[in-house]
C-alpha cells in the first residue's frame, strides 16, 4: 500500500482504489495459478509445507534414480540371461554330440565330427561371454571396460610367445607319459618271485599314481604301500586267479588293471602264464603288467592328461604349466605368466564374490547384486571341457586313437553334465532370476511410493482448476460489484444536487 499524506480528504477514495487494485492483483494471481497449475511461484507461498516439498522432491528424485538403476540392471540381467541360455544350449549340443554312437572317423584335421563341431561351439560360448550391454562387458566382473575372454584362436593356438591350450595339452601329455611310456610308473624286472611297482616320484603330479594292489592269487603276498608296492608269489597261483592294480589318473579318475593267471601259453590279453618255476611266473606277471600299463598309457592316460591340462589352463588362476622343457621328466607344475601363456579370462579376477561386482541400488534399502565373471566354476568348466574336445586331434594311423577318443568323450560328457556339489550353470541363472525378481518387487514398491509422493506434492504445490475457477468467479463478482458501487458513490456528492 502507499501511505499518502495525512489529512487528505481523498484518503477514503484512495483506500477504495487500493482495495480495487488488491482485488485485481488477487485475480492476476489466480489466473497465474490456473495457467501454471502451481499454487505459488515461490516457497513462501506454500506456507508451512515449503520444507516438506523439499523433502518430497528429494525422495522423488531418488526414486527416479532407482528407476534408472532398475531399468539398467534389468537390461543387463536380460543380456546375461540370454548369453547363459545360449551357453546352456551350446553345452547341450556338445554333450549330445559326444554321447552319440557316431563311428570314429577322422577328418583331414584328425578330428571327429563332434570335435570339429566343438570348435564352433567353443566360438559361440566365447562370443556369449563377450556380450555387451551398451559399452559394458557383462562377464568381466567389475572390469566392464574389458572383454571377458580372449578369442577362440588365441585360446586354442596361442598368441606369439604365449602358449595356447593345444601347447599346454601337448606338454602335459609328455609329462604324463614319461620317457618309458609307462605313465611315469616304474615296473622293474621281477626279482626272484617278487614283482614291484612304484611311482617315479612321490611328489610329481604327473602320470599314473599307484593307488593299491588287490591280490587274489593263491599263495601271493602284497607288501608296501602307495606309492611303492610289491607282490611276492610264495607259490604258483591257481589257474584263473586274478590280481588288480588300482591306478589314479591325472584328472582324478581311477583305472584298474586286472591280470589273470592262466595255464595257457601264450596267454591272452591281460593274462600271464603259470610256469612251474614260480620265479618265471613272476617274470610273466611283470611282463603282462608292463604291457597292460603301457596300453593304458596310450588310451586313457592321454584323455585324462588333456582334461587335467585344460583344468590347469582354465580353472586355475594363474594357469599351471609343466615345469620344463624337458617335459617328459618334469616333476612339478609352475605358474604360467602372461608372457608365456594366453590368459583366456581377461576380466576382473578380484576376491569379491562374482555377483557383487555389479550392484544396483533399486530402492532406499535394496541393493541387487547381478555381476557375473566368465571364470566362475560352472562357466570355466564348460569352456574347459568344450575346449579340450576342440583342441585334441588324432592320427589316423594310431591304433589307440579310437580308445583314447572314447576315454576323452566319456570324461567330457561326464564333466559337462555337471558334477554334484559343483556350481552349475543353472545355479547362476537362478541367482540372476532372484535378482530380477527383487528388482521387479522394488519397482512396484517404488511405483506406489512415487504415486503417493507425487500426489502429496501435487496437493501442496498444485491447485485444482475447479477451485481456482470458482475463486475467480467469486472474485469477478466482487470486483464488478465494488466497481459499480464505487462509480455510484462518486455520483453521490452535494455538488451534483446544488442549484445552478
Amino acid at each position: 500500500m502507499t501511505i499518502s499524506g495525512i489529512g487528505t480528504g481523498s484518503a477514503l477514495a484512495a483506500q477504495n482504489a487500493q482495495a480495487l487494485v488488491n482485488l485485481q492483483n488477487k485475480l492476476d494471481q489466480l489466473t497465474q495459478q490456473l495457467s501454471t497449475g502451481q499454487k505459488s511461484q515461490d516457497y513462501a507461498g506454500l506456507g508451512s509445507q515449503a520444507g516438506l516439498t523439499v523433502g518430497l522432491d528429494a525422495q522423488l528424485s531418488a526414486l527416479t534414480g532407482y528407476g534408472n538403476a532398475i531399468s539398467l540392471a534389468g537390461t543387463n540381467i536380460g543380456v546375461v540371461q540370454n548369453a547363459l541360455s545360449e551357453i546352456g544350449s551350446l553345452n547341450g549340443a556338445v554333450v549330445q554330440a559326444v554321447t552319440g554312437s557316431a563311428p570314429f572317423t577322422l577328418d583331414s584335421n584328425g578330428q571327429t565330427t563332434a570335435q570339429s563341431g566343438a570348435v564352433s561351439q567353443l566360438d559361440g560360448i566365447l562370443s556369449a561371454f563377450n556380450s555387451q550391454s551398451g559399452e559394458n562387458h557383462l562377464f568381466s566382473g567389475s572390469a566392464v571396460n574389458q572383454p571377458a575372454v580372449a578369442s577362440t584362436d588365441q585360446i586354442l593356438n596361442g598368441n606369439g610367445a604365449q602358449a595356447g591350450l593345444k601347447q599346454v595339452i601337448a606338454e602335459r601329455a609328455q609329462a604324463d607319459l614319461g620317457t618309458s611310456g609307462l605313465g611315469r610308473l616304474l615296473i622293474p624286472a621281477a626279482a626272484g618271485s617278487t614283482v614291484s611297482i612304484s611311482d617315479d616320484s612321490a611328489t610329481s603330479p604327473f602320470g599314473f599314481k599307484l593307488a593299491g594292489i588287490t591280490s587274489n592269487l593263491t599263495g601271493a603276498g602284497v607288501s608296501g604301500s602307495p606309492p611303492s608296492m610289491s607282490v611276492t608269489l610264495g607259490s604258483n597261483p591257481s589257474n584263473g586267479d586274478t590280481i588288480q592294480f588300482s591306478l589314479t589318473l591325472p584328472d582324478g579318475s581311477s583305472q584298474t588293471v586286472t591280470l589273470q593267471a592262466t595255464t595257457a601259453s601264450p596267454p591272452g590279453a591281460n593274462q600271464f602264464t603259470i610256469n612251474p618255476n614260480v620265479n618265471v611266473t613272476a617274470g610273466n606277471l611283470q611282463a603282462a603288467l608292463t604291457t597292460a600299463v603301457g596300453n593304458l598309457a596310450q588310451t586313457a592316460l592321454p584323455a585324462a592328461s588333456a582334461i587335467a591340462a585344460a583344468n590347469d589352463f582354465f580353472n586355475s588362476n594363474p594357469p599351471q604349466r609343466v615345469a620344463g622343457p624337458p617335459f617328459d621328466t618334469a616333476t612339478a607344475l609352475v605358474n604360467g605368466t602372461s608372457a608365456n601363456t594366453v590368459m583366456w579370462y581377461t576380466g576382473d579376477a578380484g576376491s569379491t564374490p562374482a555377483r557383487s561386482t555389479a550392484l544396483a541400488q533399486v530402492g532406499p534399502a535394496t541393493t541387487v547384486a547381478y555381476g557375473v565373471r566368465a571364470n566362475e566354476p560352472a562357466l570355466s568348466n564348460i569352456v574347459a571341457n568344450v575346449a579340450v574336445l576342440a583342441a585334441t586331434s588324432y592320427s589316423p594311423s594310431d591304433p589307440n586313437a579310437a580308445a583314447s577318443y572314447a576315454a576323452l568323450t566319456q570324461r567330457v560328457s561326464a564333466n559337462l553334465n555337471g558334477q554334484p556339489g559343483m556350481q552349475s550353470l543353472s545355479d547362476i541363472q537362478a541367482e540372476l532370476a532372484n535378482a530380477q525378481s527383487t528388482i521387479n518387487n522394488a519397482k512396484s514398491v517404488n511405483q506406489q511410493t512415487q504415486n503417493t509422493l507425487t500426489d502429496m506434492l501435487q496437493q501442496i504445490e498444485g491447485v485444482s482448476s475447479d477451485q481456482v475457477g470458482a475463486a475467480i468467479l467469486t472474485l469477478q463478482t466482487n470486483l464488478q460489484a465494488s466497481m459499480e458501487v464505487t462509480g455510484m458513490l462518486s455520483q453521490m456528492s452535494l455538488v451534483n444536487f446544488m442549484p445552478a
Binding site: G7, S10, L12, Q41, A44, L52, A58, T64, A69
Partner: protein, 618 residues
C-alpha cells in the same frame, strides 16, 4: 445605538462571510492535495458600545494531534513492514519457483541422481561426465544463490544510502519551517500552509525511521530518534552513511570502525557531536530499519545457511574418521590415534565419563592461527571445544592439551604423530578417541575424495583470526579442477591395484553420504541465536532451511498486512477530522451564501430606514 452601528455590524458580517468563502474555496481547491489539513476561519465577536460585530482573526487547522502522532508512529511500522515484506519476497526469488528447473533443491537432487546413475554404470564415460557436470551445476547453483543474496545486501546498502539522503532533506525542511514560523508567529493561512508542509516532511521522515515528535510553543516541533538523540530543532542534524559499494559475505557490520565492512549511519548534531545510530540501536522501525535488518541479520543468516550446506556437504565427501587404538599404561587406560594428517579445521574427538558418571565430549580442533585462539565454548558445558595450534609440533600440541584438559585427561606423544590420551585420575574413564581428517588425494585408497574445493584449498572449515572458512564458502565452492580434467577420478580411488572400471565403490559412497550421512550444521545457519546445532541429512537440512525461510517470508507478509490495516484505520480517522469533505464544504457554501445574503439584507433594510428617515425630514 444607531443605524450606522448596525451598518458596520452588517459590514463585518459581510467580511466574515467573504473570509469564510475564501477558506471554503481553498478547502475545495485543495480537496485532493496530499497533506492538506482542512481549514476553518477563526471568527471572533467584537463589540463597540452596543454594537456587536464579527471579526476574522485568522485561519484554524482542524487537526487531531493525538491521531496524527499515532499516525507517525504507525507509519514507521508500516513502511518497515512494507520494505521487509518486499525484501523477503526478493529473497524468495533467490530460491526460485518450487519444482522448477532452477529451484533451490533441484541442483542438489540432480547431483545425487547423477551419482546414483554413476553408481549403476561406473564405467560409462557419459555417466562420469554427467555426474561431474551435475556437481558443477550444484556448485554453481550455490554460487548463484550466494551472489543473489549478496546482491540483495548491496541493494539494501544502497537503499539505506538513498533513504539517508531523503531523511536529511526532510529534516532540513522541518528545521527551515520551524525558523519561518518563529519569524512569523501569526495564525494565518501562510502559517497553516507551512505547518501542512512541515507535517508532510515529518511523515516522510517517519516512513524512513522511527521518530518522536514533540510539539512545543510557538508552533515549533522537535524531533528525536527512538533512543532520544535530537534530530531536528530549530537546526537540523545531519545523517551520513558511508556506502561500501558491492557487499560480499565476509563484510559485516561492526561497531569497531577497523572491522566494519559495511556502511554505518552517523548523526552529526548541529553542535558537531556525532552518534553512531546503528551502534546505539536508535533505528528500530521504518524503511531504514528494514534495510538494516536485511543487510545485517536476515541475509547473512540466509548466506550462513547455504555456506553451512556447502561446507558440510563438501566435508561429508572428503572427511575420513579413524578410530583410535586402545592402550594401557600401568593402571591408566585410554586410546591413541594418528593426528599427523589433520589439516587446520580438522578435529579429533574424545569421549570420557567423569567421577560423577557424566559423559563429556571433547572436540580438539586444529587452529593454526593464534589470533583465533581460544575458541568460544559451546553453550553445553559437557561439550568442550579446544582449539590447538599444531605448528609447534607434537610436543606443543600435547602441552596445550594438558593445559586445557589436564585435570581429567593426560595427553602424550608416544611416537611420531601419535596422540595418546589416558585418564588422569582413576575415576575418569576414556570412552573413545577418533581423528577426522580431510582427504586431499584423489587416489588415497579410500572412497573419500576432495570433490569440492574452496578455490584450490581443501574445505575443512578452518578457523583463522579473520573468521571461518565457511563464511561465504557458497560463493567460492567449485569442483576440484583435477576431477574436471579427469572425470574418471569419480571411480578410481586407488592406483595399486588399480580400481576396476566397473567398481561402484566411490559413487556409492558419494550417493550415500549425500543422502544418508547424519551431519551437524552449526546453529547460526539454522535458526540463529543460541539454539543447538541441527543434526540431520543434507536433505533434512535443505528442508529445514526452506521451512524457516518460507515462514519468515510469510511472517513478514502477515506483518505487512496487519500494519496496513492499522495505518488505514488511522488514516481514515485522520481524514474524517482533517480531510476536506466536499459535501461539508458545499453545505458551508450554502450557509455562507445565506449569511452573505442576510447581511446584505440587513444593509438594504438600513438603507430603506435611512431613506424613510430622509423623506420624513424633507
Amino acid at each position: 445605538m444607531s443605524l450606522i452601528d448596525a451598518l458596520s455590524t452588517a459590514m463585518s458580517g459581510l467580511r466574515a462571510a467573504q473570509a469564510g468563502l475564501t477558506v471554503t474555496a481553498g478547502n475545495v481547491a485543495n480537496a485532493s492535495t496530499p497533506g492538506y489539513v482542512v481549514e476553518s476561519p477563526a471568527l471572533v465577536e467584537t463589540a463597540s458600545g452596543n454594537a456587536v460585530g464579527v471579526d476574522v482573526t485568522g485561519v484554524n487547522r482542524t487537526l487531531d494531534q493525538l491521531v496524527q502522532s499515532q499516525m507517525w508512529t504507525e507509519t514507521s511500522g508500516g513502511s518497515y513492514a512494507d520494505a521487509a515484506a518486499q525484501l523477503y519476497g526478493q529473497l524468495q526469488q533467490v530460491y526460485s519457483t518450487p519444482g522448477s528447473a532452477g529451484a533451490f533443491d533441484k541442483a542438489f537432487n540432480n547431483f545425487t541422481a547423477a551419482m546414483q546413475a554413476l553408481a549403476t554404470s561406473p564405467a560409462s564415460a557419459a555417466a562420469q561426465t554427467g555426474a561431474l557436470s551435475a556437481a558443477q551445476q550444484f556448485a554453481q547453483s550455490l554460487n548463484g544463490m550466494s551472489s543473489g543474496i549478496q546482491g540483495l545486501r548491496t541493494q539494501a546498502e544502497q537503499g539505506i544510502a538513498a533513504d539517508v539522503q531523503q531523511a536529511n532533506a526532510a529534516m532540513q525542511r522541518i528545521a527551515q519551517i520551524n525558523q519561518q514560523l518563529t519569524a512569523n508567529p501569526a495564525q494565518d493561512a501562510t502559517a497553516a500552509q507551512l505547518e501542512d508542509q512541515r507535517d508532510q516532511a515529518i511523515t516522510q521522515l517517519s516512513q524512513l525511521m522511527n521518530i518522536k515528535v514533540v510539539q512545543s510553543g510557538n508552533n515549533q516541533v522537535a524531533i528525536f530518534t527512538g533512543s532520544g538523540a535530537q534530530l531536528v530543532g530549530t537546526q537540523a542534524g545531519t545523517l551520513s552513511f558511508d556506502t561500501r559499494g558491492a557487499l560480499s559475505p565476509g563484510l559485516t557490520w561492526s561497531a569497531d570502525p577497523s572491522k566494519d565492512g559495511v556502511g554505518t549511519i552517523t548523526l552529526t548534531s548541529p553542535g558537531g557531536d556525532t552518534t553512531d545510530l546503528i551502534a546505539n540501536k536508535s533505528i528500530q522501525s521504518g524503511q531504514i530499519a528494514a534495510y538494516l535488518q536485511m543487510r545485517d541479520q536476515i541475509l547473512p543468516q540466509a548466506q550462513g545457511q547455504i555456506d553451512a550446506l556447502a561446507s558440510q556437504m563438501a566435508q561429508a565427501l572428503s572427511n575420513q574418521t579413524t578410530a583410535g587404538t586402545a592402550v594401557t599404561a600401568g593402571a591408566q587406560a585410554g586410546f591413541s590415534v594418528n593426528v599427523g594428517n589433520l589439516l587446520p579445521g580438522n578435529s579429533a574427538q574424545i569421549t570420557y565419563t567423569d567421577a560423577g558418571n557424566v559423559q563429556h565430549t571433547v572436540t580438539i580442533v586444529r587452529v593454526d592461527d593464534p589470533g583465533a585462539l581460544p575458541l568460544p565454548s559451546p553453550s553445553d558445558p559437557n561439550q568442550q571445544v579446544v582449539g590447538v595450534n599444531f605448528t609447534g609440533g607434537m610436543g606443543s600440541v600435547v602441552s596445550q592439551l594438558n593445559a586445557a584438559l589436564g585435570t581429567q585427561l593426560q595427553f602424550s606423544n608416544p611416537s611420531s604423530n601419535l596422540l595418546q590420551v589416558l585418564n588422569a585420575v582413576p575415576a575418569v574413564t576414556v570412552g573413545s578417541l577418533s581423528a577426522t581428517a580431510t582427504t586431499t588425494s584423489l587416489t588415497s585408497g579410500s572412497p573419500q575424495l576432495p570433490l569440492f574445493l574452496d578455490g584450490t584449498t581443501p574445505i575443512t572449515g578452518a578457523i583463522t583470526g579473520a573468521g571461518s572458512q565457511d563464511t561465504g564458502l557458497a560463493a567460492r565452492i567449485a569442483v576440484n579442477p583435477a576431477i574436471v580434467a579427469n572425470p574418471s577420478s569419480l571411480i578410481v580411488y586407488q592406483v595399486g591395484p588399480p580400481t576396476p572400471a566397473g567398481d561402484p565403490t566411490r559413487p556409492n559412497f558419494i550417493f550415500n553420504q549425500l543422502n544418508n550421512a547424519q551431519l551437524t550444521f552449526p546453529a547460526q545457519g539454522g535458526s540463529g541465536g543460541q539454539s543447538p546445532p541441527f543434526t540431520g541429512t543434507l536433505t533434512d537440512y535443505l528442508s529445514q532451511v526452506m521451512s524457516q525461510q518460507a515462514q519468515a517470508a510469510n511472517a513478514a507478509t502477515n506483518l505487512q498486512q496487519g500494519q496496513d490495516i492499522v495505518v488505514n484505520a488511522l488514516q481514515q480517522r485522520l481524514s474524517t477530522t482533517s480531510g476536506v469533505s466536499i459535501d461539508q464544504e458545499m453545505s458551508d457554501l450554502i450557509t455562507l451564501q445565506n449569511t452573505y445574503g442576510a447581511n446584505a439584507r440587513v444593509m438594504t433594510t438600513i438603507q430603506q430606514l435611512m431613506t424613510t428617515l430622509m423623506q420624513a425630514v424633507q
